[in-house]
Assembly symmetry: C2
Homo-oligomer: 483 residues x 2
């Protein structure tokens, strides 16, 4: 065992490369990695490396070298080379994340797990073992012939990877009924900052649970054992539209109070609905203040239809208009609307700041109205959508960096975060904290707890080499800047 | 924030009280606590204190003082007094635990949470907020009028407390389908070794998850927010008997392969069945090598009965004889048999060593046979039962300390643990590690992971004051004793 608090820690933020060693004039880290792993697994060309500095939302520092590991041994080799060079290590999968978690805060080594795609299904145990680079949807595709699925369904599940999903503890529409990524992890393998390899199950001192959602700041997850479940036999879909969001939230509360447990409960505000309609022309209700999309599912058709009827009645009682999907094709079209929110918003402004707040469901109408008012006052386009069953809302600020100042965007994002906190909410439901929401952590987490999180970080990564600059705000520097 | 690796750590095991201060000749800690909390909340009389040295399976050291806190502020006061006195702190609920987790390894302060019984149900949010001393069953009793239940059902749920259940991450028969205690915890409050109070939800850096199952070694859980669910509308029960355990395990595997997800799958060997039959005379099949008890449940009666039929067919195909519970009363009687295993065993020998291994289900027949053979060779009575759906087996060694040597019992327990490890299993499914299985941790967890667990322990409890001597084997001393 080599990481321990006794080791000398690097000064936080001192992740710059050491002076170049002789004989490797350009990029000693890349040269060393190429020597030990072979050229096929290392990207050292600047134009290649620049592709690994961003995720789906944020730009970061261009890495000094990128390794495409094919197995855990490659990860160990690369991590040890980074340690020897004194540079930080950042892991990434498909980089479809929405919090900047995979965008390096400092130049260093990036490990891109996209070649680690080994996937085995064990139907008798209802488990799959997946390397970090396995695409999320592939797990269900491999399990389905055995009558099983892997439920977590982040919107990006056709491209995102299991490693990234675990790193961010990703959610998705199904998580209202079926739980988030971490609920489906039975064990995992990870590599620490020194290149030591750990194989964990979910036992006493749940280190695996600690790694899940830690965005690569405590270790690099290389493989995971995932729990599979039989899919529901039947699914029924409806769309309800409301004059305003308060009615929509009221409908959801009434529906849940009847005992119905819909599989999905998705909300879009008028700005979001219109953006999708401009993009796809699906016939969505453009003048509705709020649109609600609902799936009920289960193994008994009568119960599934009864649950849909309960939701439908709750929507009408709250003042909504309901449209049932009569066919699977119609249901698929309605869900395509929800899945197309991201590309639809990209047509309005080239960039967006995507928040991921979770508030008590009872506070939702007020929170949505306050955020709407903040957006209107700022002059920036703001759209809102999310998993309303959990109170998980995604206010998106759309902007063009050539037209709008990043200070104005950041200021508005901060005000939105404060609305969530004031209503008893938290900053991240499913996207992670990353760099995006890191500055708001001081307002979201009390100083005692924050210090405990730092203690845990130091226990597992004493030199601060793993994905520095994510989740936890710096201890000393910012403590004075934000008294 | 006051705990940090920079603090001076006590030498492990140095938990003896400081020299007596003047004016409190007998017991300075008890005197100080009585002064600060009032006499009603402190037990200092030796005969009272002796009642707090054991749990349901293990004797420990008599505490120097026992505090019965009524709220979190009392816990803070007591923990700070223990810190000032330089003695360890051990929390306990109903002390129905089966691993020695609540039995103090050293004399110190015991906090008995039985007076912290505040319980609130929030039906709209499907949540309950419970203080640590709330009895597990009370949560469901309070939630049921709102159409909700709290699923985790350890056998002791009529007496065990929420704090104890969280500390040990307790399971129960329902956990095959519904998950363990930790799966129902949305947040918790805990007090650390310095008396600082933390309020956690299940966010990035899942400290709450780390506390769950840590047996009070990282912090004292004072309150928790629990997730409630609607109960299934229908339940159906069957009992199957088999000539030997291999057939029983085969039946379970076949049943699961059909896609059936029984709510409970409980196994008892012949020795266990006969012990219960001697005790209750319920008409259980005394000559069966293995008995299987199964519940199927759900909201659709047809599906529930179809699942029972699938399990029944699987049992018959594997060579079993099946008896359906025709009425709720008959089902209740069958489950009473399972719940009465503990008192039934107490009639055979006054004490028992209860293991809690989990092995791959495919290995169960071989594991049960090897343990049977070890028991027969030892001459000690050994019975086996458990949650066969998860491969969670409870081999129990029954003994009378006046007749049987504790070395022989411990040696047999160790051999049984090694059988589990050799077949790819783990030492604890739901009872925790405690002191009971602590000596086997070196064989169950690799040194790299064990060192990481110690790093986490030191990060959260640098002075080693919280429930010392539990879960983690000592680092240096035993490293040499067991090379």
């Amino acid at each position: 065992m080599s990481f321990s608090p006794r080791k000398t820690a690097l000064t936080p933020g001192s992740g710059a490369p050491k002076p170049r060693s002789k004989g490797t004039p350009d990029n000693p880290l890349a040269a060393e990695l190429t020597r030990s792993l072979g050229p096929r697994k290392v990207l050292s060309n600047p134009s290649e490396r620049r592709n690994y500095r961003y995720d789906a939302i944020q730009f970061g520092a261009t890495p000094l070298a990128v390794v495409l590991p094919e197995n855990t041994a490659d990860v160990v080799t690369a991590v040890r080379a980074a340690r020897a060079a004194g540079v930080p290590v950042v892991g990434r999968g498909a980089a479809s994340g929405l919090s900047g978690g995979a965008a390096p805060a400092l130049p260093g080594l990036v490990l891109s797990f996209t070649r680690m795609t080994r996937l085995e299904v064990f139907p008798q145990r209802r488990e799959a073992r997946a390397q970090a680079g396995v695409v999320t949807l592939s797990v269900t595709e491999a399990a389905r012939p055995h009558g099983l699925i892997y439920p977590p369904d982040p919107a990006s599940f056709r491209t995102s990877t299991i490693g990234g999903n675990l790193g961010e503890n990703a959610g998705g529409p199904l998580c209202f009924k079926y739980g988030v990524t971490g609920d489906y992890v039975k064990g995992l393998q990870f590599v620490d900052a020194d290149g030591d390899v750990y194989e964990l199950t979910r036992d006493a001192y749940d280190l695996a649970g600690l790694l899940i959602g830690s965005e690569g700041t405590l270790g690099l997850i290389t493989e995971a054992t995932l729990r599979l479940t039989p899919p529901p036999k039947y699914t029924r879909t409806l769309l309800a539209s409301f004059a305003e969001v308060g009615e929509c939230a009221e409908a959801v509360s009434r529906a849940i109070a009847t005992g119905a447990v819909p599989a999905k409960l998705e909300f879009m505000d008028a700005a979001c609905t219109n953006a999708v309609e401009d993009y796809l022309a699906l016939g969505l209700p453009r003048d509705a203040g709020a649109v609600l999309l609902v799936d009920t599912d289960g193994d008994d058709l009568e119960t599934v239809e009864e649950e849909r009827a309960l939701v439908e009645a709750a929507c009408r009682e709250a003042g909504g208009t309901v449209r049932r999907a009569a066919t699977d094709a119609e249901a698929a079209a309605l869900w395509q609307a929800r899945r197309s929110v991201s590309p639809a918003l990209g047509r309005i402004r080239p960039q967006r700041m995507n928040e991921d707040i979770v508030v008590p469901r009872s506070a939702l109408p007020e929170v949505v109205r306050e955020i709407r008012a903040l957006g209107d006052a700022s002059g920036l386009p703001v759209v809102q959508f999310g998993h309303i069953g959990d109170g998980n809302l995604h206010p998106n600020i759309l902007f063009d960096p050539r037209r709008e100042s990043s200070e104005a965007v950041h200021d508005l994002a901060h005000r939105i975060a404060l609305v969530a906190i004031r209503h008893g909410g938290v900053l991240s439901g499913e996207h992670g904290i990353g760099t995006m929401k890191r500055p708001f952590m001081r307002e979201a987490v009390d100083p005692v707890t924050l210090a405990a999180l730092w203690d845990v970080k130091r226990a597992l990564d004493p030199a601060g080499r793993l994905n520095p600059g994510k989740i936890l705000p710096d201890e000393d520097v910012e403590a004075h800047a934000h008294p």
